[in-house]
């Protein structure tokens, strides 16, 4: 009965008979409802397909890819063993990820293909960035932010949350890597009103000592109070000379004092009152309350249905802040604001070696 195109089945049948006979393998009975590979041998109901796919670690979705990273072990243990026919069966049953092409083959849904590639790369990117010298890392962040369509929020984050020495080092590395100064690139490529502020932020070399002139801090808080009160549509706040001066030249300690004085005077938080100008809002947050800024981003990005850029920020923040005393503070802020530890949230949302890598990094500051 095994002839023609069924010849291969005879070989396998005989091989298995031999293995059984010599006791090398035993065949156990598995109930259908427990059989994770059932979807590969027969057509199942939707619920059955969902159950078995989940059991393999492949999440079925209709829109975005779930989670961050890939469970490599599961992939290897299941997919790795399937032969051609089993894989074909898998493809025709997981209609969320594969589509029936008019030329009779099951095609990867382009979007999912991209997602999976990105998720496989997530660990590689994290590792590469983590091993880089922080100066090179920040220089490349600046460069990417400029070339990928002016991602100002990454420029602001990098320029405002590093120490003066680190920022200087990043500018240094930028020279070596890109043969330009970072400020000349920002000044050249950005044409929007934020340009002056961004150039000034990246050029700052703030004093980091403990001395703060409190009277001057009060006076400068009043500058914000008045500017916000008198804000009109004619000139954006972000172009206000005095605001740019204060935010880009004063020490971080002085800025925190200004932040506190602002609260005393108006009863509000400065960054909340800057809701109308997202750039300024972010600058103030990064300079005056960086841990809150970072944990906000982490909580909104550690979800199952977010954009790729949000997932990238998880990697970026954890990898760039891993070595700072900041990481400890970020974890504390995260826990106190959201009730769960950062590690737990990561376990919920991230997969595989990528997840393990991040968990290892953040546990360094325990």
């Amino acid at each position: 009965m095994y002839n023609g195109k069924y010849r291969h089945i005879r070989r396998r049948h005989n091989t298995i008979k031999e293995l059984l006979f010599s006791g090398i393998i035993i065949v156990d009975y598995v109930k259908s409802k427990d059989n994770v590979s059932d979807s590969l041998t027969k057509g199942l109901s939707r619920e059955g397909v969902e159950r078995t796919s989940k059991g393999m670690g492949l999440r079925l979705r209709t829109s975005q890819h779930d989670g961050l990273g890939v469970d490599e072990k599961l992939f290897i243990s299941l997919l790795g063993k399937w032969d051609r026919n089993e894989r074909e069966s898998y493809r025709s049953h997981t209609t969320g990820i594969f589509v029936e092409d008019e030329r009779q083959f099951q095609r990867w849904n382009d979007h999912h293909l991209l997602q999976l590639r990105q998720d496989f790369l997530r660990l590689k990117d994290a590792v590469v960035v983590y091993t880089m010298h922080p100066w090179e890392r920040d220089a490349r962040l600046f460069n990417e932010a400029l070339l990928k369509g002016s991602q100002h929020h990454i420029l602001i984050e990098t320029a405002c949350t590093r120490s003066s020495q680190q920022l200087l080092g990043a500018r240094h590395a930028y020279h070596s890597l890109f043969e330009h100064s970072v400020e000349e690139e920002i000044a050249f490529r950005i044409k929007t009103p934020e340009r002056k502020l961004l150039v000034a932020l990246v050029s700052s070399h703030r004093y980091e000592g403990p001395r703060v002139d409190n009277n001057l801090a009060k006076a400068e808080a009043m500058v914000f109070v008045n500017a916000i009160k008198n804000a009109d549509k004619m000139k954006q706040l972000v172009e206000e000379e005095e605001i740019v001066r204060i935010l880009s030249t004063r020490s971080k300690l002085r800025l925190k004092a200004i932040y506190d004085h602002y609260k005393e005077i108006t009863g509000n938080f400065l960054d909340e009152d800057l809701d109308g100008d997202l750039t300024l809002k972010q600058v103030v947050q990064c300079l005056c309350a960086p841990q809150a800024y970072f944990s906000n981003i982490l909580i909104s990005s550690l979800r199952l249905d977010v954009e790729e850029s949000a997932k990238d920020s998880v990697t970026r923040i954890i990898v760039t802040k891993a070595d700072d005393e900041d990481m400890k503070l970020i974890k504390e802020e995260f826990q106190s604001k959201y009730g769960t530890p950062l590690a737990a949230k990561l376990k919920e949302v991230a997969n595989g070696s990528y997840r393990d890598f991040l968990l290892t990094i953040i546990s360094k500051s325990d």
Partner: protein, 313 residues
């Protein structure tokens, strides 16, 4: 080329300190001895002398000098003895304290120093004044002056020789447009002058001359204080020796001499390019710099200046 001369066999720092100490002892001071030592030591050697002096005698050499010396001679010796980056920080601080007339000193420091030296000056400023240089400059200037000076002192220009000729052409066009329109404080003018590397600016200005026939500096000759600052910026970045010659000529030929400017230039360039500046000066004025200085100054101040120039009589 530097004009500083150092003896072939330099005494140890300890010996120098002993000698300096003896110069201060008793009534009056042995200025000639002080000049013979300090005016012939490099920055590294002077630093070691200061350290050794403090360790040996428990006193800051600079404080001693301040006590013992007077007038222009004292100012020159103090400014000279400082480390180059401390000196720049000190000079910048003095400039922010005064009126806008001194703003060109800030331009001078920001433009004639190498990018690295400017960074070191900013760090020395932190240490000495517990503030950042840019915050003081921003606070003490307004309007167009602030618009130009803050980016200048905050710049960390690319220091390499790579030049983009297409960009140079494009930016020389922009500069020409704005300057012909007398839009001197235009954002683009400031952007180009405050962020491009010196090599790139050099290429841009060459294009300016080739494509538009005129030297940009000629177009910036008449005008207000701000235009003068722009001129100083360009000169300082691309033709520093000419810039310094102009400052020196101004300082020496004025009725009475502007000692502060003379002090600053001689002290800050003696270890850098004072010899070249002196040669340029002679070309411009047909009188050697040393002779011009000798004519216009006197006493120990004159001796120290000439010593730093490498021209003692």
């Amino acid at each position: 080329m530097a004009s500083l001369t150092v003896p072939a066999h330099v005494p140890s720092a300890a010996e120098d300190c002993e000698q300096l100490r003896s110069a201060f002892k008793g009534w009056g001071t042995n200025e000639k001895l002080i000049i013979s030592i300090l005016a012939h030591r490099t920055a590294a050697q002077r630093k070691l002398i200061r350290q050794t002096y403090a360790e040996t005698f428990g006193e800051d050499l600079l404080k001693e000098l301040d006590r013992e010396l007077t007038h222009d001679f004292e100012k020159l010796v103090l400014v000279w003895t400082l480390d180059p980056s401390e000196r720049d920080a000190h000079l910048a601080k003095e400039a922010t304290k005064r009126w806008t007339k001194s703003n060109f000193v800030l331009v001078e420091i920001a433009c004639t120093r190498s990018p690295k030296e400017l960074v070191l000056a900013r760090e020395a400023y932190h240490a000495r004044y517990k503030k950042s240089l840019e915050e003081d400059v921003a606070y003490h200037t307004t309007g167009d002056h602030r618009k130009l000076l803050v980016p200048l002192v905050s710049s960390y220009r690319y220091g390499g020789e790579e030049v983009d000729l297409r960009l140079a052409k494009a930016e020389s066009k922009i500069l020409h447009e704005k300057i012909s329109d007398k839009a001197y404080s235009d954002d683009e003018v400031i952007r180009i002058l405050a962020t491009r590397s010196k090599a790139q600016l050099n290429a841009t200005l060459n294009h300016y001359k080739d494509d538009h026939g005129e030297d940009i500096l000629k177009q910036l000759e008449d005008g207000d204080e701000f235009v003068a600052l722009l001129r100083a910026t360009i000169k300082g970045l691309v033709y520093p020796e000419h810039y310094f010659v102009e400052v020196l000529r101004d300082a020496i030929n004025r009725r009475g001499t502007e000692e502060d400017h003379l002090t600053r230039v001689i002290a800050s360039r003696a270890e850098v390019d004072l010899k070249i500046i002196a040669d340029e000066y002679q070309k411009r004025d047909s009188i050697p710099l040393g002779r011009a200085i000798a004519k216009d100054t006197r006493g120990d101040y004159e001796s120290m200046l000439l010593a730093l120039l490498g021209q003692e009589d």
